[in-house]
Amino acid sequence: MSLGPARLRVWWLASGGLAVLAASLAGLVLGPADLGLGEVLAEMANRLPLVEVDSGLGERQQAIIWEIRLPRVVLGLLVGAMLATAGGAYQGVFRNPLADPYLLGVAAGAGFGVTLAIVSGAGDGVGILDPVPLSAFAGALAAVTLTYLVGATGSRLDPVTSLVLSGVAVASFFTALQTFIQQRESETIRQVYFFVLGQLRTAGWNDVALLAPYTGVCLTVILLVRHRLDALGVGDEEAGSLGLDVKRMRLTTVVAASLGTAAAVSVSGLIGFVGIIVPHTVRLLFGTSYRVILPLTVLFGGAFLVLADIVARLVVQPAELPIGVVTAFLGAPFFVLVLRMARRTR
């Protein structure tokens, strides 16, 4: 084991890329409709310029590939990458292995925004879910802003603890509001629940277009600061003495991670555990430096979510399990594993 600074080895990135490719292919081939690997590849090859291949698929089957499965795979890659990396970043910023992207109230804020949108009848109309992503986004951002305002006001607690506690308070508040409204408008419960459990089933190219810019920017920012996350890991004062502007660093990372999470949540609902399972698995396999982990969580996070989505699609087909259920099933035992490993390293 070399003692030099952690290095991101090329073949690690390659294995990540391979995982993405394999998951994507599986996502295109598997599903209630029976489409073979050869036909799918031929269909994709057909779309390349200057290439003409007859895949033998009918119009509806082509629609299944291009308009249902492919946007779903792409969205899964984007959301998975974003949630996993945001989770890793949060774990670095808060120095807590159990931090996840919803820590500062993003989930509760988004849920509340969605409830308001659906209850006010904005769920009707041609663009079926259009006001919903916007209100989820707005709600998520409002919650994080509130958390920051409440938690970062010079209290005597150390800033990290203060933020976390304020996040808990804000999340409880928004959850209570959401429950109150839902009780009074109980016919909308199923629609809200549908969002809260997380789904990629209604993924469309619109959602991809909505999410891609946010994911691109936020992931880039987080990847750019990953070296400093390592410094932050030794403690606020120590990092400050190394020349790091701790407050600004924390703010930048939290903003990037929260913005990206809010955007992801607004199109795919609240998918849990991705932000914990993926960073920790990557840590186990490749090392604990954020310089190494974060680029890998981008790739493996995407692959993980696409695979979870395949499970969600196949287990009770043609109905689908909400993807949040699949990740929770995987996540609960995973938490136990993390706790046990943490105990052993003491």
Binding site: D124, V126, G204, A319
Partner: protein
């Protein structure tokens, strides 16, 4: 479907202060001529127009509010918890008429309400007329050979042919695509867009038209433009109420479906 008549309480021969907390029961009561004996109906009973709608809820009933009307008969279709117990404790005669699982339940519920309200003759006549009209509508299985998808909401919940509405569609010879999706036999499976594309139903019935869904919104859904039903214009909005209730208006529901098919 069970009736829960408290054994210790007998209903008056002709109750004059009936409360209905079931929109179907409301329709039945008015159809058999017992309308002027009804003093209050729940907030979902929107038919007929002359029914005295109140804020009483059939899903979150308030015992005191119900008792405040001093009813001598309460008809419900759902007991969320201890409603029947509470009404019994207040010595209010109660009848529970659960959602019908077949058309025979409809006939027996109509007959029961007829007996209880002193309109047995009208009830029998209503049953005979419904039977006759349904038989006439089902006469030539106009929908034979056609498959359909009955959409309950835009999260793609559907009803199989074993449900009440599914049996009504079956009268016209229509085949339901949701059947193979319901292995547990629950009756209301949730389908996926991919499944519907694969099954390619000839007709799509939208019972969520009142919630903003239409042929246009369906065609705009990702990938749905390739469906036969969308291409041929066989996306049919159906009335949310008549497709979900099991009262006398089942006839108008079946009629509306038949008219739509004949218009293709």
């Amino acid at each position: 479907m069970t009736t829960a008549l408290p054994i210790t309480l007998a209903t008056p021969a002709e109750p004059v202060a009936i409360i209905s907390l079931s929109s179907t029961a409301t329709e039945i009561l008015y159809a058999i001529g017992a309308g002027d004996q009804v003093v209050a109906v729940d907030n979902m009973s929107n038919y007929p127009a002359e029914a005295p709608v109140t804020e009483l809820s059939g899903f979150t009933p308030n015992l005191e509010a119900i008792a405040g009307y001093e009813p001598d008969l309460v008809v419900i279709s759902y007991d969320p918890g201890d409603l029947v117990e509470g009404l019994q404790a207040l010595e209010i005669p109660t009848v529970m008429q659960r959602a019908a699982s077949s058309i025979d339940d409809t006939y027996s519920q109509i007959a029961e309400l007829g007996t209880l309200t002193g309109h047995a003759v009208e009830a029998e006549a209503l049953n005979a007329s419904i039977k006759e009209e349904l038989a006439a509508l089902a006469d030539d299985s106009v929908g034979t050979g056609m498959t359909y998808f009955h959409e309950i909401d835009n999260t793609l919940y559907s009803a199989t042919s074993s449900t009440f509405v599914g049996q009504l569609y079956a009268l016209l010879g229509l085949e339901n695509i949701a059947d193979p999706a319901d292995k547990a036999g629950f009756g209301w499976p949730q389908l996926s867009a991919e499944f519907i594309l694969e099954e390619d139903p000839d007709i799509i019935f939208l019972s969520d038209a009142a919630w903003g869904e239409s042929a246009e919104t369906v065609a705009a859904r990702q990938g749905w433009g390739a469906l036969t039903a969308v291409v041929e214009g066989h996306v049919v909005p159906v009335d949310q109420d008549t497709s979900a209730r099991w009262g006398p208006r089942v006839v108008s529901f079946v009629k509306s479906v038949r008219t739509a098919i004949e218009g293709f």
